[in-house]
Each structure stands twice: as C-alpha cells, then as structure tokens.
C-alpha cells in the first residue's frame, strides 16, 4: 500500500508548534540577501509526522525484523547498548571544537578504539577519520601515492585490482589519479600468480586485495602475492570488507599488508542506517605511518592525557578528509561493541561466522544448488550460481531474490561478484541461529520447486510487499527526483 508523501498530507498553516520559537524574531539582514519565496517544506502536525515516518519504517526489511544474508555487507545484530551509550548526553552534545580538557571521556574511548583496532589487525598505527569504506580506500591509495612520491618515484601510478573486486576499488584508484590494471582470478578462486608477475613492474604503485576475496574464499597464495608485489617495489592494500571471516584468527598485518581499511559498519556492527553512516578506519604498517590522515588521538604523560595529533605533529600526513574528525558517533558504537565482545568474543566472531556459512552452504549443496566454488571452504560467505537453472528453467538470480522477499527473507547479494553468472553471494553472519538458516534453505528449495512447476508466477514476485517489482527503466527515463507542488 502506497503511503502518500508528507507533502500530500500537508495543509497550509499547520506545523509542530512545540518545536520552534514562539515568536518570529526580527533580524536586520537587508532585503537583498533574503529569499523572495519561502522554501517548500511540509506543513503537518506533530502527530501526522510521527504517524507518517512510523508507517514508512514499517515498510522496510531490517536486521531487527528479518534475516538479511547480504553477502559482503555483514548484516549482524546491531547491539542496542551501542546506540544508547553512544547517545549519552555528554557525548552527543559535545561540540567537536570544544577544548581537549573537556573531552577526555570521548578521547579516551577513541584512543582505546585505535589501540584495539591495531591489535586485531596487527597494524602499527590507526586513523579513525575516514567516514566509510570508500573513504578508507581513498586514504589507502593516497598514502601509497604519497609514499612513492616521497621516495622520488612519482611515476608509480598503476594500481593492480582483481577483476572480482568491489567497484569502489577501481573507482578509488581513478579518484587518486592512478591507472587501474585488472588481474584475472583463477577458476578455483585464487589470483593468477603468473598474471601477477607479468603485471608488476617499475610503474606499480600497489595492489588492492580483499582477503577472503569477494568470491568468499581465502586467497591461499597471499604470502607469495605479497612477495611478488613488494619485490617489484609496490605496496599492498587490504580491503577489509570481509574482515568478519578472519577476525581473531588471522591478522592482515601478518599477511604483509601495508595498509588496511576496516568497515566498522560491517565487522564492528555499527548500524547500516538505510545506507550509512559508516566508518572506514585505516591501519598501517611502518612504511606508511607518517602519511596517516589527521586528526589522530595521542596519549601522553602530561595534562590533558589525551590530545589531538594534527598537521604540526604529522607534517607528511595526506591531510584531512572531513570537517572534523570523522563519524565520532559511529566510532563510539564500535568501541562499545568491541568492549562487550572482549578478547574471547572477538576470537569467536570468525569461528561462528564461518561455521554458519559452511553449514548453510552444505545444506544448499545437499539440496541440489550449484556452488560457485565447490570443493573450497566457505569463508564467512559463499556463492550459489543459478546458471544451470537459468538455462533449463529460465529462472534468474533476480527472480529468486524477489521470491525470497515473499518468504520473509531479505535477498542475498545478487550479481556480485560479476565473475560468476546468475550468482547469489550469501553471508549469514554469526548472530543467526541454526533454525533460521534451515528455514532459509527450505525457502530456497521451495522457490526452486516453484520454478519447476509455476515459473510464470515466480517471475512476478514479490506479491506480499508494499509494491510489486518496480520499473527501473522508467525511473531513469522519466526522471522524477523531487516532488513539485502542481
């Protein structure tokens, strides 16, 4: 059922009277600076607004309401305490430019978070400022460039990216003024080492890798990959999107990565919020320490104990990436999460994420689904390919995804990575029960059965949601991006 727009519920003269000053103050700004007409904003009562957005929220699938096995997104439970504690008045009301002396509580949390992230990743230093994974990637590539320029090798502009990489990787390389060299992935999911040897050279800035890869399998030759790239004078960048698979079992620093970005909104369970905010904190090895983006929290013997490291402390820093210090509230949530998990809890994340993924993979394989990489262990996620069914039954990954919605599950990631045709990338995460995964497997079996017996009906899914399948072509052709009063 379509919910009318808040504008359609508005009536001239209505507003939430309790929420704005009682009087219209005078100000002496001359007319030439002022608007000629007021902006078009809603005019609704407070109850209308409450009802409108509450009802809109009820149209969403979310982790709190549905199993959400979106591969590569790590949709694990977002603990409520993280939100409550991050929004305590002392944190939420603090101005970012307030004196350090009156921010020691917040700064203590940030410093300890930096230290914990160093420990779990095996890196030497951390900056919390990048505001999302993509900004973390930008940071990493920018630091690699700064390193080569500082060493008198500004011609090192080639960034090697596996063809299975997330789109942000090549997009980032371009944003940093680099050139992308794509590397093929082998049939069993590992990088083609011979192709890598041919790709590296005097112009190599570095390689961007995810491990486990976007294919859901561990890069078994990682030590050799590191040797080849370092041997050619390039550096290694680790895309930490899949950190959940190895947290507490393997440290990227031990795999010889020079820089890593973490997705705190994945691995460290900060909320996805309908598309953010995230945090792309970065960790570096010794080579890149001088180039970290600022500000970073320092700790000293004097007063105040915690303080900001800025341009003066880090003259070779690549600079600032945000107006203040990044997504502080997200960082506080990650801090609370890590404190609640503690050492033992963090070791268990990878174990149970991997157990769940391998269990679900076994159930689906036993039910007759074709795996993207049979014979390989699942990491925290795995790929099912529907290429056979798309030929024999004309059912696509999209059809299965939409049908899953009717069964009460959010669909897995579809059509990524691009390498595997008609694929579903499935990541249950460690916070799901065994029964939930059994129910999901049963739903997949039921959907396949429907594909065999009533494909036309299947192709019309979903039927039980606020809308049926949407016309994307029309959306792009007849652009309607903002409501206008008619």
């Amino acid at each position: 059922m379509h919910e009318p727009l808040i504008f359609e519920k508005s009536r001239h003269g209505r507003r939430a009277y309790a929420q704005a000053p009682a009087d219209r103050a005078e100000c002496d700004i001359p007319a030439e600076f002022l608007r000629d007409e007021p902006p078009m904003l809603p005019e609704a009562s407070e109850l209308q607004v409450v009802r409108h957005f509450t009802r809109l929220s009820q149209q969403n699938f979310s982790i709190d309401t549905h199993f959400y096995p979106l591969g590569s997104c790590t949709m694990k439970y977002n603990p409520r305490a993280c939100n409550t504690l991050a929004m305590l008045p002392g944190f939420v009301n603090r101005h970012p430019l307030g004196p350090e002396r009156y921010g020691q509580g917040f700064l203590a949390c940030m410093h300890e978070l930096q230290e914990m992230l160093k420990a779990v990743t095996g890196m030497k230093a951390v900056s919390l400022t990048p505001m999302a994974g993509a900004q973390g990637e930008l940071t990493g590539v920018a630091m690699i460039r700064a390193y080569h320029v500082a060493r008198g090798e500004p011609h090192r502009l080639e960034v090697i990216v596996p063809d299975a990489a997330h789109g942000t990787n090549p997009a980032t390389a371009t944003m940093c003024g680099c050139v992308v060299r794509e590397l093929p992935t082998g049939r069993d999911g590992d990088i083609d080492l011979d192709a890598l040897r041919r790709a590296v050279g005097a112009n190599t800035a570095g390689i961007m890798l995810t491990n486990p890869s976007t294919l859901g399998v561990f890069e078994r030759n990682i030590t050799e990959v590191a040797a080849i790239v370092h041997g050619a004078g390039g550096l290694l960048y680790y895309d930490g999107a899949n950190l959940n698979a190895i947290l507490g079992k393997v440290r990227p620093g031990d795999m010889e990565f020079d820089v890593i970005h973490m997705n705190l909104h994945k691995t460290f369970s900060t909320p996805h919020g309908g598309g953010g905010p995230g945090s792309g904190a970065v960790g570096v090895g010794a080579r890149l320490m001088p180039f970290l983006p600022i500000p970073i929290v320092g700790k000293r013997e004097g007063e105040p104990e915690y303080f900001w490291l800025t341009e003066e402390h880090m003259p070779q820093s690549i600079g600032r990436l945000s107006g203040f210090m990044g997504n502080a509230g997200v960082l506080l949530r990650a801090y609370v999460y890590m404190r609640m998990l503690g050492r033992d809890g963090m070791r268990r994340i990878a174990e149970f994420a991997t157990l769940n993924a391998n269990y679900l993979m076994a159930r689906l394989e036993q039910a007759g689904f074709e795996l993207g990489f049979p014979g390989r262990r699942a990491s925290h996620e795995f790929i099912v390919t529907l290429k056979r069914q798309s030929r024999t039954l004309n059912v696509t990954a999209m059809d299965v995804a939409k049908a899953l919605l009717d069964h009460g599950f959010h669909a897995p990631t579809t059509y990524f990575p691009l390498l595997v045709p008609e694929c579903l990338l499935i990541e249950p995460t460690e916070t799901e029960t065994r029964e939930m995964m059994d129910r999901f497997a049963d739903a997949m079996i039921a959907i396949l059965h429907e594909a065999e017996t009533d494909i036309q009906r299947l192709k019309g899914a979903p039927y039980t949601l606020p809308v049926r399948r949407l016309d994307d072509v029309k959306a792009a052709r007849n652009l309607d991006l903002a409501w206008k009063r008619s």
Partner: protein
C-alpha cells in the same frame, strides 16, 4: 558469547552436516603460519552493565558546559520525535535500499528529503547525501571540472568566507586529480570577499565557490559574485548553511542564472553535535549537471500494477556499475542522518525553520551587543551577519577562553591560531537554544575575566 546464539548441540549438528570434526577444520585452507593463537591487546569482555557504567562516567566528564561555538557545527533544539523514530530498528538496522520492494520506507524518506533539499537550495535535483560538508565541497569541485566543458582549467577559486578546513579537505581529496584551490582576498571592513582576483583573472577558474554565510558569519554579495563568475566562464558552487536557507536567498536564485551546484553541511537539521560526526553532506544541482552528480539518487516510478514506488536510479554514474569510470567512489553515505533531517524538516516546516534562523540571528546580535559593552571587545567586521560574529579582543584569546571554560562557558573559537592576520580574535555563535539569561551569564563571566 555475546550475541552468538549457538548451543553445544547446535554446533555438533552443524559440524556433522558439514562433515568436519571441529570448527578449526573450517580454517584449513589458511596457511598455518598465519593463524594466531590469541588476541593480545584486547581486554576481557564487559557485560552491558559494566560497559554502561564506564561510558556513563566518561560521558559525565564531558558534560555541563554552555556552548557558544559554531564554526561549522551548530547546536539547535532537536525534537524528541526525530531520534525516537530514526532509531527505530526498521530504519536503524536496514541496509542500502538495493532491493527496492523491501526498502520503500527508506526510499520514500530519501525522495522526500531530496524534494526538501531541492526546494531549500532552489535547484532541480538533490542526491541522497555525501559524508559531510567538507567532502561535499571536494565532490562538487570534481563535478564542476567534469561538467564545465568550456575550459581545461582545474583552478578553483574560493571566496574569502569559505571554511579553511573545507579547503584543506578539498585539496586532500581532489588534489590528486590536479585541482588547485585559491582564495579571494578578504575585505577587512565588511568581512566579505574582495572579488579582485576573479575580475582580473587571465586564467579564469573552472569554478568559483561562494560560502553563505561566510565562516565569520558575514554575508557575501552572492548575486554580484555569481554573475561575475559566470561571465568568466566559471561554474558557481554555493556552500550554504541549511538553516539559513529558510530566510536567505536560495542558491538557485543567485545572480541571473543561479548557482550551478549547492552543497554544505546538513548537521544543523536535527543532527546533534556528537563530537564531530556522523553528520551529512547535502548536494543539489541544475538538471544540466545531473549526470555528473555523485552519490545515490532516488527516483519515483511505478510497479507492475501501476502503483507508485521508489527506487535508486541513474546508477550508471556509480561505482558498482561504472567502476573505474564512476563519478565518485562513494558507496555508503549518511542514510540515518538523512532520515533524521527529513523528520526534523517535516516537524519544523518553513515557518518553524525560519523562526529558528531568525531567533539564532537575533540571539547572536544580542550577545554581540552585550559582549561589546565590555571594555576591550569590539566587532571585527561591519555589515550584516547571520548567526555568528567575529570579535576583536585587546588581549590574547586563548587564556580568556580557558578562564571562561573554567566558569562553565565555551565562549567560541580562537581565531588567532588559524587566522593570525585578524589578531586576537574570537568567533562566537548563539542559536535559539540560548536564553537571555545564558547571554547575560556569558557577559558577566567575561566582564569579570577582562577586568
């Protein structure tokens, strides 16, 4: 183990179904020498009760001061409804709306947000957010270079009032693609830009950035500057405060043609100060530049039954489709903050937002009058201000601010470090959250300190 539901029985059954003896076997593809035994440097787990106690103590340390700092982040009243609803699980723990049918709540909210931003800025289309105001400027500059086919220049000229941190961030993000950022001079009487650098340009810039209100709270002659920039073949990027747009001229109406891109920091719209983030960057543009705009965009369309619905659109601009040729690498944006801002704007409406703007402007004027009644304090700039004002002191600013803080007042920011050419200067801001009593308390404390 917190948040992990498995019983011993579950584990046993699952291992049997997989066909392995233990969980360790599932890691047998990882080279043995990489597997670690233990995690050093991570303390033992805390229960929710224990971490709550720790966090409450830390938050309490940072509380209790009256804030007169602006400089890009502003304290406004946030209605209780805003975060009560924004933190509902269905908004809070939802993901990017890639499966549109299961995300109509988020998608419609974003569409309504886009409509409000388009109207506030007076432009045709808005995106679904960027990270913050500073990075939005970086993206706007890159967008202007892509869109301005009339020149090969990568010189971006900034008006005097553009926040200097924004300049640094833009240089850090866009510098590697060859963009340079220069400033116009500051007229030391009015605190507005001296457009000389723009009129004399032998090498006209690709874009001119005008911040309104400026960093010091002063107001620029946006119509003249916009026309001048356009006459030089430059695109105009407006960096604007969204609260001020309730009463100040919309960028789309600047000069004869209007600004081409508008961006800025959305934090004032229902997002708390929260030590600097998460905030959100907004961006809007004229239709002609739409396909160069970065970030997600939601469009309204119809479904199989002909009913209205919302979906992400124009995705061919984005990284997951265009990869190395994308307009930007941005993926995750600031969705939850946009949800909050949309609820905030719905509650306030144009009249409520105008009152917040007017009252804030008024309170700052009242504060400035009270403080300037103290010997040794003057305004730095003449001319109209919005809700911030730069003051000149007859002594170093730092110790004055420290003394104020000891009395529970964060008096503003010390400009003498970042803007030494202004001398001993202080930037103060008073919003609608301050009462007459608050302003008088500031005056009394400062008078005491100065005597």
């Amino acid at each position: 183990m917190p948040f992990i539901p498995h019983t011993e029985e579950d584990i046993g059954d699952m291992l049997a179904a997989i066909g392995v003896p233990d969980v360790e076997s599932l890691f047998d593809e990882i080279p043995k020498e990489l597997l670690i035994r233990d995690l050093d440097g991570i303390p033992d787990a805390l229960s929710e009760m224990e971490i709550s106690r720790l966090m409450r103590a830390r938050a309490a340390k940072d509380s209790g001061l009256s804030c007169f700092i602006g400089a890009g982040a502003y304290e406004h009243h946030i209605p209780a409804v805003v975060w009560d609803i924004a933190t509902r699980g269905e908004f809070y723990s939802a993901y990017t709306p890639y499966q549109a049918e299961a995300s109509q709540g988020t998608l419609q909210t974003i569409y309504e947000y886009q409509s409000m931003i388009a109207s506030l800025t007076g432009l045709d289309a808005s995106n679904a957010s960027l990270y913050d105001g500073a990075s939005a400027l970086a993206e706007a500059a890159l967008m202007a270079v892509r869109a301005n086919r009339g020149t090969k220049s990568r010189r971006v000229l900034l008006a005097a009032g553009v926040n200097d941190t924004y300049r640094k961030v833009a240089a850090a993000i866009a510098g590697s693609q060859g963009l340079t950022f220069e400033r116009m001079g500051l007229d030391s009487t009015t605190g507005a830009s001296d457009p000389g650098a723009l009129s004399d340009a032998e090498d006209p810039p690709v874009a001119v950035v005008i911040q309104q209100p400026g960093f010091f709270g002063t107001l620029e002659s946006v119509h003249e500057l916009t026309d001048l920039a356009h006459s030089q073949g430059a695109l105009v990027i407006a960096v604007v405060n969204p609260t001020s747009l309730a009463i100040l001229a919309a960028p789309g109406r600047w000069g004869k043609q209007g600004a081409d891109i508008a961006c800025g920091e959305g934090q004032p719209l229902g997002v708390p100060l929260s030590s600097g983030g998460p905030y959100f960057g907004f961006m809007a543009c004229r239709n002609a530049l739409l396909r160069q705009m970065p970030g997600r965009i939601v469009g309204r369309t119809t479904d199989l039954d002909g009913n209205p619905g919302f979906t992400l659109t124009l995705q061919a601009r984005e990284q997951h489709i265009r990869r190395s040729k994308a307009t930007s690498n941005i993926c995750t944006n600031q969705g939850l903050m946009v949800t909050a801002a949309t609820i905030y704007l719905s509650l306030l409406g144009q009249e409520g937002l105008a009152r917040v703007a007017l009252t804030s402007c008024r309170r700052t004027a009242e504060l400035v009058e009270l403080l300037c009644s103290i010997e040794g304090i003057d305004r730095l700039f003449e001319g109209p201000h919005f809700h911030e004002c730069a003051l000149r002191l007859d002594r170093p600013t730092g110790p004055v601010l420290e003394a104020l803080a000891e009395r529970g007042i964060l008096g503003g920011i010390d400009l003498s470090g970042t803007h030494p050419e202004l001398g001993d200067a202080l930037l103060v801001c008073a919003t609608e959250t301050k009462t007459k009593a608050d302003l008088e308390a500031y005056r009394d404390a400062l008078r005491d300190i100065m005597s």
